[in-house]
Symmetry: C2
Subunit: 431 residues, 2 copies
Amino acid sequence: MPPVAPAPAHRTAETVVTVLGTDGRPLVDADVTVAQRRHDLAFGCTGFDFVALANGEAGGGPDSTFGGAPAEQAADLAELWLDLFDTATLPFYWRGFEPEPGRPDTARLRAAARWFDERGVRVKGHPLMWHTLAPRWLLDRPTDEVERLQRARITREVGDLAGLVDTWDAINEVVIMPVFTAEENAISRLAWEKGRLHVIRLAFETARAANPRATLLLNDFDMSTAYECLVEAVLEAGIQVDGLGLQSHMHQGWWGEEKTHRVLERFSRFGLPLHFTETTLVSGELMPREIVDLNDYRVASWPSTPEGEARQAEELARHCTLLAEHPAVRSMTYWGLADEGAWLGAPAGLVRADGTPKPAYHAMRDLVRGAWWYAPTTLRTDGSGRVVVSGWRGDYEVRAGDQVAPFVVGGAAATARLSGELVRAGSVGLG
Amino acid sequence: MPPVAPAPAHRTAETVVTVLGTDGRPLVDADVTVAQRRHDLAFGCTGFDFVALANGEAGGGPDSTFGGAPAEQAADLAELWLDLFDTATLPFYWRGFEPEPGRPDTARLRAAARWFDERGVRVKGHPLMWHTLAPRWLLDRPTDEVERLQRARITREVGDLAGLVDTWDAINEVVIMPVFTAEENAISRLAWEKGRLHVIRLAFETARAANPRATLLLNDFDMSTAYECLVEAVLEAGIQVDGLGLQSHMHQGWWGEEKTHRVLERFSRFGLPLHFTETTLVSGELMPREIVDLNDYRVASWPSTPEGEARQAEELARHCTLLAEHPAVRSMTYWGLADEGAWLGAPAGLVRADGTPKPAYHAMRDLVRGAWWYAPTTLRTDGSGRVVVSGWRGDYEVRAGDQVAPFVVGGAAATARLSGELVRAGSVGLG
């Protein structure tokens, strides 16, 4: 473990909180307990493992296009998940979500989103438009109908989930979309015939219309100049993008500080929030460098090793620290808590196949819920009912006896009015 | 040599030419000699070797930023050059062109352009804006002044050469421009601070204003999706681009049919003419595939070999044939006739260091001035003074005795009025 750096100034705040009693008058000269509930900076993970659990199903659900652990392991995993992460990415891959035209999996996904929401977790949907895992039944439709169906699907999902899922990867991997050849699909055809900007505009404008409050991201794995050029095109076109999604599947090794800094420098200059949407670091052998499409690498067994786990732990801590240090970063999402069901069979989880947490889990938790976390602390209000709370920006609560109130550490001042139940006002979203 | 394919229909035309005598009346029932003078499809090469020759200098000129053979070899090279190519690329690299502020090399380059023009060769200027070979004296100027100087330099060169040089690489290698780190330079700084679209707009609008008749190209070596994304951005921005320049330095091996087809397919769909601006194929060992920046490969000696020369000849013939077959291709330019002075010391020329032509020279000439060429042919005009000429589109001439007249094969009909000297009317440009 590298030493923990001081908290970056842009991540923390000192907030004067005026605590009001249930009668609305300042609670003066009283002991209160202040605790953090959630970070402003989103620490996310895929929530695929819990769709079946949230729906009370025994197996892995009616399809397996997005992987995930079986429900019998999910309860134990859930405890580890909730003890580290505060933001879940849920799978809306069209092929699995709507296996037959007109039969979308809305109810199950809504239940999963609600399961997270009830546990104080922000939920993000992934993705509304993507060439990979596009329905096979789209293939024989004419391009104009594909476009109409894609619009309708975006309108439906964004509308149906609004209020529970207010952040979306509006469109995924557009750099390669029109020239993707690994599997014939109708979305690449649409992007080829109409152009990248046309499909980006389609995705963003349709999603925006269905939920004007939504945070909509452009998401890509391509960290080359191609993505920069695409972003310049999108900005030039006047398409309102709320953030840039940067994938970072590091099966071939951690980027390291230099590349991470350079990526942050290159993509932050557009002035948009950066979301590290898909991070993986393996705790076993690295995938050979010469593999271009990670999907091409298939091995019978890819074990987690002690050396690999130590390396993964150090790299994950450094990765999280580097991202937290850069003010443009709005979220960092790890791509899968468990090795079980991980993409490519890689030991990319933070929890081993036997359910025990790896060192990387502890390393990340030591930061997110340790060094960077405001643990429950007793403070005394002054003669005006005020306490000063200095910590990482985010959602907090103050308790006095069996009364509780939420407040936000971020601005200079906040007011917290105690009540018998914890209301959700003042929550920090992902937007 | 592969068999020569039939001429693609879009490259040829059947034109009925009405031959008029000096008195303006049809020359009926007369023998005339018809010959092609130049292709419409431009077969180009760098003309760097002849700048000194055109200026009557003994050495290689006052600078060597662009290479080129010494003047004493240039006369022999010129004969080979003019017997194959019809379009010259002249070097306007800013660092060499204006070694000290305010002392541009205009007179020498104008003399070189005129030398080609007098020999019936179209001239293109390369490049008006590029990070590589930007003047070192720009480095300490503030960015706004760099921008002002860049605009002034474009206005000056394009204006000074108008009429002789009407085709320009307006800006070179923009994909990498802002993130180019191999050498600190003021142009990358400008592109980083203002964005790719800003500098592209700057280059095109400034050049257009200086010469509204100019053909202005965007030129890049990056054949990845990055360049596609950039082109989409440029089109979205409404910047008028007259053609896309595609470099094809193949020091690591010929692209092959599949990649060539794919590049043509991907870049032709924007509806812009394609210019293959910089083609090289080596006649020796190939550069190893793992080299990313070709400039990083330095060898003491890189000889041309018999096997390499045979391979180069076959590949060049196939390359030219593939490009001619695609209707979007407007030009193909080979990057350097001679091994002497070639970039990276590669045996990339079509002429050996000893001045003798390689098999690739003959292979290309067998097409361009052989199978694809309308050699002098005697035809007899009909009772209305007409002959039917069927051949590759381009500039032709008809002779009767010591009278001559130009005409263009391209449309259904043409008129050629004989005179004592060959006027240049009707010439096919590069636009």
